[in-house]
Symmetry: C2
Subunit: 477 residues, 2 copies
């Protein structure tokens, strides 16, 4: 039997969610939450909640079983207990369902013989009838173009970033944090135990997917090493692929085995492999997102000479160190530029640093706009990093004013500048600082400016982004 | 002239703040903010705001000049413009003031000849009359025992941690973030350009200070390298000393020169020096605080075997990796312990991991308390790390419930356990997640449990803490 390709599972015209509590969503995540997510994300086709008791949930009629649905069902989200799943797969085959996402856990990852047997039984059933299965033990697919989603707070608009994640929780965080920073997604797939559709299938599909320009992957282990290497190499040639490998050493491997039942390789092997194949290895979930943000916004032709602008003095010193340590260059401004900056400061301003880094301290914020324009206008600078440590600002009213001037300035910059600016708000200590950081982050997302939570992480992500493009441009010679 | 020792500057009976705006505190930080901080921190002696116009500020009478104060003045906070400072120093000498903190900037750090000359003039003046000067270009002293403070939101109760910081902004952040996590301070000194009292004076004093059990230092450069080495070695023998060095490479040195006028050494030289002297080098402000939290709460006799407890699966895998990478051990639980944990789970719970890491997923939170007790009761574990990634929790109501069960459990643990527990709440993405993290952090501070914002940082700080004690116990053989 030749397996059907994957495009069908992203484009269902109708979805049945099997195992929907009549109480509606939550508190424990389950079927009704999937229905909620489909509705919130604007799924256009029919949604059929299923529960033997019938009734209604979230304004939709609940069907007693798959057989009771008169129209076709393309896609099934399975939230019933593991022992009942093989029967459901047979019902799906009878109904000509194209894809099943099995949320249910308790299969091979449980370590029990019964769990392993059930998973094998499902894999054998679907290999006979061409149904594609995502999971089991996963939250499935988010595809805003068609309105498939697994959390109601996901954006309903689409974008060029695809994510594959062996962990549901990690995919929640990646989408939410990415979305806050303005990233939009083509397809996000949480694929769990991968009894049918696995990481290689997904990478192969996404490498060719015209809606996808960048791939991020959280992988705990691979089913078929040789195929994975071949597929990853092709994908990394087609577009940037950022890989976070979970499960290091004996303890990590044990955690992975209990989590998704995957087999892991050594850390060093992964390091060498990813480098050789031209993929980018991320070493934390934060770095995966920071790298995605960087690739999303920054132009591939970019130099390493940065200006660090913000406050106060200690933050400026440490931020400059972070840039230097990451491999960026913080060049000294010529006297003419320093004099021009000085002209913008309030009369008698002291405690400001103008040679690069530029520390505006308490006093120069009113001139942020003029300063940034002058800095970006200087030919010796490729990129400006605006930063402030909220916890270092003495007063909350000043903190809020700085936040507001950041937002005004960034809107202005996004209209006018040909050179990129990135923004870092760090060292949050109070509700006000959270609020300011969130507001700046939101506006950055709206106008298309990369936002980071730490200068060290920003500098590292930008430098690794430059490394990637420098290497690729060498290859292209 | 033999300089008077430093104890006097921490124990003034009266403080004059020179240069207090009649408009009261803010928006730009200045004299009235120092008055506000002294009042808020409960300074017991007389506070004399000074402004030639007189009037009243924050309910206190404003004096036109130092000479107009009839009683003695022990300590002066100087917030007037740089050119007027030498005259003020002479007035202070006439009034037998013991210490002056010069907030004013525009001295050597400005790079101007005039600024350097003024700073030298002040240094020469005070060396003749025994007054000790903190600064210029600094926010001075926080000493809750006597009520000296430079921000009104600092705690008014005292504790064993001392901080010296060449940056005012960094000292703001260290105290605020430390205080949120329950740290209390003996003395915090922001010392700026250090024209009189410098890093070596302060380290020497704090090494002998009976109220101080741990010293943290943010240092940009040193005035007298040989003395610093001698003093640091003695201090590090007396108590743990954690040093964050700001100003790496040419750009960092330039930033430092403009910030505090200090001369820096090479990064490698600092690395070698600190290791040799038995001090602990922190590589970021976050690490300085994380190390301080770790030393503050954890017992010096502690092993490396940890249990990672929390949710969900992906977080558990990555958290285990973070522990392993940091040099901690995450041992597999014996079957008997796993079975005991399983007994606490809701009937039919799936998707939980019980072999260590322990992933309670959505379903095991109700049993957190029993699980932690069982884990801490197991002889193969030295320490439990409770963690959850807020952004990976599907629903806000569940997030809040998990936060609440963390708080209940940690109060319980703090009463009963003989083995330490640390808590990490990470991956904040929403206002609710900020709220939960802040609430858990606050309660941890109240009951004395170390709280961290990232598992990687927690694991690294704990491992470096263990390194320190292992090395010191070897020395003690």
């Amino acid at each position: 039997v030749i397996k059907s390709d994957l495009s069908g599972i992203f484009d269902p015209k109708s979805v049945a969610v099997v195992g929907v509590s009549s109480k509606g969503p939550g508190p424990q995540f389950g079927g009704a939450d999937f229905v909620d997510a489909l509705l919130s994300c604007g799924f256009k086709g029919n949604i059929y909640p299923i529960n033997p008791k019938g009734g209604e949930v979230l304004g939709l009629k609940v069907y007693p079983s798959l057989r009771d649905i008169s129209g076709p069902v393309d896609y099934v989200i399975c939230c019933i207990a593991a022992p009942q799943v093989p029967q459901l797969v047979e019902d799906c085959a009878a109904k000509s369902v194209k894809g099943i996402q099995i949320y249910t856990g308790g299969f091979s990852e449980s370590g029990t013989e019964e769990g392993k047997r059930l998973e094998q039984e499902i894999a054998a059933l679907v290999s006979q009838n061409g149904i594609r299965v995502i999971g089991p033990n996963c939250v499935g697919i988010y595809c805003p173009r068609t309105g498939l989603a697994f959390l109601p707070d996901f954006p309903s608009d689409t974008g060029p970033v695809a994510i594959i994640s062996q962990s549901g929780g990690n995919s929640f965080y990646i989408v939410r944090e990415g979305a806050k920073r303005g990233i939009r997604f083509s397809k996000v797939i949480s694929y769990g135990n991968a009894c049918d559709v696995n990481e290689s299938d997904l990478l192969e599909f996404l490498a060719d997917d015209k809606d996808t320009k960048l791939i991020g992957a959280y992988v705990e282990g691979v089913k078929d090493g040789r195929r994975f290497v071949r597929v990853l190499e092709e994908a990394a040639k087609a577009k940037p692929v950022i890989v976070l490998k979970g499960g290091i050493g004996e303890a990590g491997a044990r955690a992975v085995a209990s989590h998704t039942g995957a087999l892991v390789g050594s850390d060093e092997a992964w390091d060498g492999l990813l480098r050789q194949l031209g993929a980018i290895r991320a070493y934390s979930l934060e770095e995966l997102i920071d790298m995605a943000v960087t690739f999303y916004y920054l132009p591939s032709v970019l130099g390493r000479k940065v200006s660090v602008v913000g406050g106060g003095g200690g933050s400026s010193v440490l931020s400059t160190d972070d840039c230097t340590n990451a491999g960026l260059i913080v060049p000294r401004f010529p006297v003419a530029i320093q004099d021009k900056l000085k002209g913008y400061m309030e009369k008698g301003s002291i405690g400001v640093i103008l040679s690069n880094p530029v520390d505006l301290s308490d006093q120069g914020w009113g001139a942020l706009d003029d300063c940034i324009k002058t800095i970006l206008g200087y030919e010796g600078i490729d990129l400006a990093i605006l930063q402030f440590g909220a916890g270092s600002i003495p007063r909350s009213d000043v903190l809020k004013a700085i936040g507001a001037s950041f937002v005004d300035t960034l809107v202005e910059i996004s209209r006018e500048s040909t050179k990129p600016v990135v923004i870092v708000v760090h060292s949050l200590i109070s509700d006000d600082s959270w609020w300011v950081a969130t507001e700046v982050e939101r506006r950055c997302g709206e106008v298309g400016i990369p936002f980071y939570h730490s200068l060290r992480n920003a500098a590292r992500a930008i430098s690794r982004f430059l490394d990637y493009h420098e290497r690729n441009s060498r290859w292209n010679l």
